[in-house]
Amino acid sequence: MAILEQGLIIGLMALGVYISFRIVDLPDLTTDGSFALGAAVAVRALVTGIPAWLAITLAAIFGAVAGSVTGMIHRKFKVNVLLAGILVMTMLYSVNLRVMGGPNLPVPRVVAEKSTQSFEEMSGGTGLEDLFGELEIKTQGRALKTGSVVKNIFNNDLNGSDLLLIIFIISTVIILLTIILRSDPGMLLRAFGSNPSGIVAFGVSQDTLAVVGLTMSNFIVGLGGGLFALYSGFSDATIGQGMVVTGLASVIMGEILLGRVKFFYGLLSPIIGGVIYQTLLSLAMRYGYRIGFLASDMKLLTAVFIIVVIGVRQISTSDGKRKVKQEVKRLWSNSKISQ
């Protein structure tokens, strides 16, 4: 159940990646940053006392702003979209630290008052006090930090309510997205992705479409980041690390499983892929250590997986398709014989 919940949230983030990589065909690397931005904004909002629903909406909006900045840098300054994404992602690292006011911000639980005490205050001293003479520092009373009671939308008790909530949010996003992408402007966006120059004939600016596409993508990524932070209970400066690759892997896994499908089902592929990715990750961590596999190796495997899938597709669409098939068949029968 926990794997399913977390996988669905990763899937939502992957849906954002699906929009940038597949629908508008712009490889956007802002994702790592906007995911963390969404997480930071959501938790910061909760700490400030903003209701959780509004907090995740804000997370999505801030993510969208980050995406639009990438889009503007890419189109207005004619910067390569990869570089533009990296620039924004790098900026966001600093921004996120500002938003969180530190490297790590927990979702406030039901807490009353608390204070951070120094070692000397708690232990009654270090036993070296007599050394210091006039250097002695009087410890003054520290102001108590007052926390407030904040209601998280997730209760983490695995009774299914979290799962329903996540499914509800994802369904809402997919329904809205389908409506938008089936409308006339949405059609233009999809057309832009498959044939950017063809769009000129419609008298629509490519710049606008690119910016809108990246904005939509990062809106969803930011939402995913916000949900992930509330679900995990904290936000951290490094929470977005490797999200582009994770998202891309989820998209690809979903596509493999679903195959060629109608547009609406295509939107579901990253969600399904996210769940599969999360399952594989937990399996790898659960059983993989027996063969010396570490959780940290997952990033390497993920990237290799993407390369292999792209490689296989490349071969299978080229003239070499038949030859490769024969070769595989030959190897397969050889291996049977040797057994």
């Binding site: 794997i3 979702v107 005490q117 000397e120 050394l131 002695e136 493999i256 570490l294």
Partner: protein, 323 residues
Amino acid sequence: MKRVLVCVVLLLGVLGLSLQTVAITAIVEHPALDAVREGIIDVLIENGFKDGENIKIDFQSAQGSVSTAVAIAKQFISLNPAVMIGIATPSAQALVNATKTIPIVFSAVTDPVSANLVPSFGKNPGNVVGISDMTPVKTQIQLLKLAIPDVKTIGIIYNSGEANSVTIRQFAKEACDALGLNIIDITGSTTVEMIASLNAQIKDVDAIYIGTDNTAASSMESISTVALREKVAIVAADIDIARTGGLIGFGFNYYQIGRSTGDLVVQILNGVSPSELETKILGQESLILFVNTDIAEQLAINIPQSILDRADLVVEDGVEKTR
């Protein structure tokens, strides 16, 4: 074919094994955190809990990634372990946020209250208890001032991306204010950034203070090279950091922190509820004072006899002696 494979893999994931398990996770592997883990496991063995015999120890490192830490926590829950151990802040937070019922012991967390792990030190209702590695920052700054009386400006090297270091920096600032010392932040989120800002600011500082910062710990070779070249002394909160070119170190032995954590784990395995146990720091008897007289000589610093008398470890002519 591929689809069938994926489906089989999915099914396997649903099937889980349930064993009497001690699940340990750390945010990253480095000497101090590894020492914590060794301490825990040694205490378990001494109390008759052996991996593979009557318990199963499952260790996962998040390799520095918070999202991996969360995934590890969620996956631990599915094992329904007898107790879960989180080493360092993000790993402990991930565990605490994943369950309200399975007992959790955290270790090497500097500020468990701010990290929302427990409402306060001492006994708390709930399923969480642990050992903090909060270090005596005030005393470390006092030692620095005592050893180098004419010090005016202290450079604090830390990664502002590490929550523990931000708390320690706050305490250091308060101590420096009280002693009339200026403070300069030398920060970097990576080893490379840290050395760059150190090179840029070293001329402005009379001494360097380093807390229990993980990034600084892994940059110590370069930091001490720069500091010794510029004849600037380093005082550290971690003995292992101080051993690499530091003048004075005053802090805990992480193996000891692990052993204290292990004591809590043993009690929980013996059926004691975490709410009966106290979240605490180690006592002053576990503190170690380290002085390197070779470095003092190199920097022409006269370490007061009063400090040398109290030192537990002294480096003299290249040899470390225990007092």
